[in-house]
């Protein structure tokens, strides 16, 4: 059954019960007046009355919704309106009686009973609806025990309805006892008034007014009922009912207590409102950043909240960031700010205003009195982000000693919350920035990858295989090969000192130098001499590049090379099945930046045969360490190369890489490292 159906059914039930109740009363009246001995006692009208009360209760239970903090006055308004309507109707009845006073019409028991029954209906409607509202109010923020107690009270009320079937009259001991039981319940229940605290000042006044009027209605109904009863002509004396008297007592008691409590709460309501506002401000502050507000908006909220929390007359806030100073001023002139700054005595506050706060401060030193023409009290609080003071907030009052410790605490929580918000904001910005840097590095990485040759020479004379890995996103290792003339190749391996971004830029310069010089078919010695001149102009003084340049002549099967400080290359001679260093004196590029460098440049020439293999590498390979801190070293590299050198270049490269990773285990190589394998074929001899 839906609530709508229930409401309609209970409404219908109430009307039917009331009609039956009235009918039964009038029937009984007839029985009485004509002395007809068909007495079926008062049982039937009492039954109808009980039905009427229960239906009305059911009806109001459904239409008066649960109380929440917003509609307390709405609930009281409902009581007031219901009371007003029912009272007006009862006054109309009174008017009717006074118009027709002393006529037979109003002295007839039939008329009196009819109007009495209407009054009974009005009283029940008002009392039951008020009961439901009181119930909602009492059960606001209910506990389990309170709920239980209320259930007992309701049961007791129903029991009192049943008790009334016996027709026990006022004054009899059982009646008294039942009344006392209901009274006790009422006394316990009426002190549940938590809702009062949630009314603001204006609502409290309204509440007092509504409840007061409800009390007057109740009193008015009591008088009316007594008047009818006094005529001695009514069939059913409502004032002889425990239920009605008990309910009267309860409703009245709750009204009185509510008025008193609300009245006593009036002076403190501003404090409660203040606390509520502080909580809301606090929430505003903590949500200001996630809501996408800017720093300035957070500062504004902080300033406003703080001012209203401590009733400050004026305030200002200063934050130093990104080189500039943000200043927000409230109720002050610029010159006031300087005057106030000058009139401060406390060292702590002075330090705060200089943004020079170092350590934790004693909260007691944050408030002070100042000698200023207008403002007498001051609070100054630092705004800290990541343990740095980035600013402060100053609050001023025209009265001396206006600020207390409690206020400092409130502002401190505000400032802390604002700091958290600001910190979050800067973290968000930082992470966005980091993301951008990462993106940039990714681009750099791709650009650098394109600087290394994509396809290596693989023809009838040579097969080249290479591998390079940077320790960071970008690195400073370089290798390249180009055929500058038929059967003549320029080959280079280079290593820029240091690693990372700066090394990567210099590696790019090296590529430019290689491509411009190698294309001219330059000799290895001249290559290093010219490369040194070129690099001397653009390398930092502490940077240098080591490299070895090879000129390969596949027609003559000879190899000329000049080593510029780079680790010596390994050469595998297939006929002898042995590996040797290609030795040559030399010096790193950029170490000597004048013509005397030329004196250090040398070159060497070797001839090769089919199957001979050349291994170029950078020191990232030989200096790779295992977990014991031991380096891979020249000897291990030489052994590894010897073991794999007769294989195809790709397998030589993979073999050395495997040996290396086996040696270092799980350790990372903290440098750029490169391997280039060149295997020679003999075109002439097949």
């Amino acid at each position: 059954m839906s609530d709508k159906v229930k409401i309609r059914l209970s409404f219908l039930g109430a009307i039917i019960c009331w009609l039956l109740f009235t009918g039964a009363s009038i029937y009984l009246l007839l029985v009485q007046s004509y002395d007809m001995k068909v007495d079926f006692s008062n049982f039937f009208p009492q039954l109808c009355f009980t039905g009427f009360v229960l239906s009305t209760f059911a009806y109001y239970r459904y239409i008066i919704t649960k109380a929440d903090s917003l509609n307390f006055t709405d609930l009281l308004w409902k009581v007031f309106i219901t009371g007003l309507i029912t009272t007006l109707i009862s006054l109309a009845i009174q008017l009717f009686f006074s118009i027709f006073a002393r006529t037979t019409l109003v002295e007839s028991p039939l008329t009196i009973n009819f109007f009495y029954n209407i009054l009974v209906g009005l009283v029940v409607i008002f009392m039951v609806s008020t009961l439901v509202v009181w119930k909602r109010l009492i059960l606001y923020q209910k506990s389990k025990n309170l709920l239980k107690l209320w259930s007992f009270f309701e049961i007791a009320l129903v029991a009192s309805l049943l008790f009334d079937f016996w027709g026990i009259q006022f004054g009899e001991p059982y009646f008294q006892l039942a009344l006392v039981v209901l009274g006790l319940f009422s006394i316990i229940l009426v002190f549940n008034l938590k809702w009062v605290a949630y009314l603001n000042f204006k609502q409290k006044w309204k509440g007092i007014l509504f409840i007061l009027l409800s009390g007057i209605y109740l009193y008015h109904f009591l008088l009316k009922l007594s008047w009818f009863v006094a005529t001695d002509m009514v069939i059913m004396n409502l004032l002889d009912r425990v239920f009605i008297l008990g309910l009267f007592a309860f409703l009245f008691l709750y009204a009185v207590i509510s008025i008193l409590v609300t009245l006593f709460n009036l002076p403190t309501s501003s404090v409660f409102e203040q606390k509520l506002k502080e909580a809301l401000d606090f929430q505003k502050l903590s949500q200001s950043i996630p809501r996408g507000e800017t720093k300035d908006q957070t500062y504004e909220i902080l300033l406003e909240s703080s001012m209203s929390a401590v009733f400050a007359d004026a305030a200002w806030l200063e934050v130093q960031e990104d080189g500039g100073i943000t200043q927000i001023i409230r109720n002050l002139k610029d010159e006031d700010v300087d005057e106030i700054k000058a009139s401060i005595k406390g060292e702590t506050i002075k330090a705060i205003l200089r943004l020079a706060l170092k350590n934790e401060v004693n909260p007691g030193k944050l408030t002070d009195d100042i000698k200023h023409s207008k403002f007498k009290s001051i609070i100054a609080l630092p705004i800290m982000v990541q343990n740095n003071q980035i600013g402060f907030i100053v609050l001023l009052n025209e009265v001396s000693e206006a600020f207390n410790r409690e206020m400092v605490n409130i502002i401190t929580t505000f400032v802390n919350q604002a700091s958290v918000s600001l910190e979050n904001l800067s973290l968000i910005q930082e992470s966005i920035e980091n993301e951008r840097y990462k993106e940039q590095l990714k681009i750099a990485k791709n650009v650098q990858k394109s600087l290394l040759p994509k396809e290596l020479v693989n023809n009838d004379h040579l097969t080249v295989s290479a591998f390079s890995m940077a320790a960071d996103e970008v690195g400073g290792d370089y290798y390249d090969i180009l055929e500058y003339r038929e059967n003549r190749f320029g080959l280079i391996i280079g290593d820029v000192s240091g690693k990372g971004t700066s090394a990567a830029f210099q590696m790019a310069q090296m590529k430019g130098i290689f491509h411009s010089l190698a294309n001219q078919g330059i000799s290895p010695s001249d290559f290093n001499k010219k490369a040194n001149i070129a690099l001397s102009h653009c390398l930092e003084r502490s940077s240098f590049i080591t490299s070895t340049y090879f000129d390969i002549n596949t027609e003559e099967n000879i190899l000329t090379f000049s080593r510029a400080g780079h680790c010596p290359s390994l050469f595998y001679c297939k006929n002898k099945d042995e590996v040797n260093y290609l030795k040559c004196d030399g010096m790193g590029l950029g170490m000597v930046r004048n013509s005397s460098y030329d004196d250090y440049v040398h070159s060497n020439t070797v001839s090769y045969h089919a199957g001979d293999t050349l291994l170029l590498y950078t020191d990232g390979i030989t200096e790779a360490k295992n977990s014991d801190g031991e380096q891979f070293g020249d000897n291990r590299l030489k052994e590894s190369f010897t073991a794999h050198a007769s294989k195809a270049p790709d397998q030589v490269k993979e073999g050395i890489k495997n040996d290396l990773s086996q040696f270092i285990g799980g350790m990372m190589i903290d440098d750029d490292y490169t391997l280039v394998v060149v295997q020679f074929k003999d075109k002439k001899n097949g």
Partner: protein
């Protein structure tokens, strides 16, 4: 990690280097050399017997001061370099630019010549 200490004795400025000189610790070596230069030292002897490893950044520190030393007539001699580090100097060709001796006495003597 590197430990660098300095000492003045009979007009000779001694710099003792212990540990490893990598990109991070090369700054301390650089500072030690700059300080000596700023103090007007003309004879510097560096004790590298405790140096286990030197990265290219560390070598760059020596290289970067070569011109300035020559210009100001500052003499620098190194001694006590172990084989691994010596090899790094040799491969790079740095041994031709620096005075490298085996012992302290030889290093001091080399400055007098």
């Amino acid at each position: 990690m590197a430990e660098i200490s300095t000492e003045n004795n009979n007009g000779i400025h001694f710099i003792t280097v212990n540990g490893e000189i990598d990109a991070g610790s090369s700054i301390y070596l650089d500072n030690a050399l700059k300080e000596a230069m700023d103090n007007g030292e003309k004879k510097i002897v560096a004790d590298l017997s405790g140096l286990d490893y030197i990265s290219s950044a560390g070598l760059g520190v020596f290289i970067s001061h070569l011109d300035e030393f020559k210009l100001q007539n500052i003499e620098l001699a190194l001694f006590g370099i172990n084989d691994t580090v010596k090899q790094v100097f040799d491969i790079l060709g740095l041994e031709k630019l620096l005075t490298i001796e085996n012992t302290k006495e030889e290093a001091i003597k080399s400055l007098d010549e």
